[in-house]
Symmetry: C2
Subunit: 308 residues, 2 copies
């Protein structure tokens, strides 16, 4: 309807317009803005040329808003306020007073490592909204690379190459534990060799945990009979507690294991420590960087405790 092209409207113009509207005079507005009166005069004239209407009525003593000016006024105020909001939010982003931190983590990292860091982070930066998504490491690596996550705690497969657009920050190396029922002869042992467990009934799930383990110790390792399969932790550990077999538990999840199950470290010669990393884009967010620091602290606190 209004065919005016109006290529670009500079917002400095709107500041001047608002100043004049409040001051009621070009000269007074110029004093407020630190401009000269001539600058204000021509700024207003430029705005009037753009809008195609007189914004002010020129009076012998100052100016007064015309009807077009009265129409424009609330819009100019809205634009000014919106720009101020934008600046405030961007500043809050820099100072971690606001913004969004999108986290990802594989499931056993969600047992203690991430929640602890998250609690400290929330206490320190309550203005930042934090979201967390659980899922397998590969998925998170892709999300970080796609820019849809700011930081993810992953345990990448050692044989697979690190993806593009992702920087890995080493957090800790996690030993593997074997979960046994309390009455098991190995329950009190410091550690155990895989060969010693060759005859046990292994309870496996659909996770890649067992694959990693048994691929790492190929020949010497036991071929589990996989007589029992369980999908989730509760069921697996329930079976162990009932004496139906043994299963693997990553050390990071040790703290959330039911007390009637004994955890014994696997001998380091049999299984390499699983590396736990934080994955970020090459240029992480301010919030992601801060969270990474907290993750490092938490990992250090957790490391001596991983043996339980």
């Amino acid at each position: 309807m209004a065919g005016m092209p109006t290529p670009h409207v500079s917002p400095g113009l709107y500041e001047v317009f608002l100043a004049v509207a409040r001051a009621g005079s070009f000269t007074a507005a110029a004093r407020v803005l630190g401009y000269t009166q001539s600058a204000v005069s021509r700024q207003i004239q430029a705005l009037e040329d753009e809008t195609g209407a007189a914004l002010f009525e020129r009076l012998p003593r100052g100016v007064r808003l015309s009807e077009a000016g009265r129409v424009l006024l609330p819009h100019a105020e809205a634009v000014r306020d919106r720009l101020a909001r934008a600046r405030a939010e961007l500043a809050a982003l820099r100072t971690l007073d606001g913004g969004l931190l999108r986290l990802g983590a594989f499931s056993s990292a969600g047992a203690a490592l991430v929640p602890r860091a998250q609690a400290v982070f929330r206490a320190r930066h309550p203005g930042v909204v934090v979201t967390r998504v659980e899922g397998p490491s590969v998925k998170h690596l892709g999300l970080v690379a796609a820019g849809e996550e700011d930081l993810a705690v992953v345990s990448p497969a050692a044989d697979r190459p690190a993806p593009e657009g992702v920087t890995l920050h080493h957090l800790l190396d996690e030993p593997m534990l074997v979960a046994l029922d309390r009455g098991h002869p190995y329950a009190g042992r410091r550690d155990v060799r895989l060969a010693e467990l060759a005859d046990e009934e292994w309870i496996v799930g659909n996770e890649r945990l067992e694959d990693t383990l048994f691929r790492a110790a190929p020949a010497a390792g036991p071929r589990p009979r996989t007589g029992l399969m369980a999908q989730d932790w509760i069921a697996k550990l329930g079976a162990v507690a009932a004496g139906l077999g043994v299963t693997l538990v990553p050390a990071l999840a040790a703290s959330s294991v039911r007390p009637d199950v004994a955890l014994v470290t696997i001998h380091p010669d049999d299984v390499p420590y699983r590396g736990i990393f934080a994955a970020t884009p090459p240029a992480p967010t301010v919030a992601a960087t801060a969270f990474l620091g907290l993750l490092r602290e938490t990992a250090q606190e957790l490391t001596p405790a991983t043996g339980r």
Copy 2:
């Protein structure tokens, strides 16, 4: 908190920002905007300098919004939309598709003259909001001068000077009528001299109407006995209909007089025609100018009928 001064943020920048955000690449945005790629590159850099944060992540194939960019995006859209609204409303103002017309009128002009013009105006420009305030002419002249009314229909006192900042547009000259009860001997007359009414009982109100009349014909005029006073039209004409006396009616109000009252023109030698004007600021609004045209047409239609 966010101490950044950020003297002025040009909105052309925001158009560029939005184009890049939608296109996903500087080059594509430049094609859309009709700019070169280098121009877009520096515009974005300028915006990033102002906001103090990277708005886009540079990828080998185009760019992607960073967190700061995601924060800025809705604000930039809001600003763009608001500026578009402002332009649309200002354009509507020019084409009389919108806006506000603030009218004023003295009471008897509100009987037929203004409402008729107003009806045509509303049919022709339904987008314009029209407000109308009744009141004495002096008050309206002041409001127009103060810029608080766009157009007022007034009957200024002939002896008082025209106020400053007000342009008067002549509409018509209104004769004075005398209201008599139907049985009065003069009821059928074409016109009547004031001297012939000297013995009548005059019903006066608080309006300046009678002052104007009797000041205009000082010596020859009758000194009314003012035995009856009534505040409003209904009461005055009711008294006339009951044969209690006679009263004055301005011709513009003739059409709204009850049918059992006879109206007789006063001889032009005894009373000057009362001038009816439209008062506007020196530079009237588009809507006011249009309304003035309609007032002129209505006045011309009304003039032959003022004698009833």
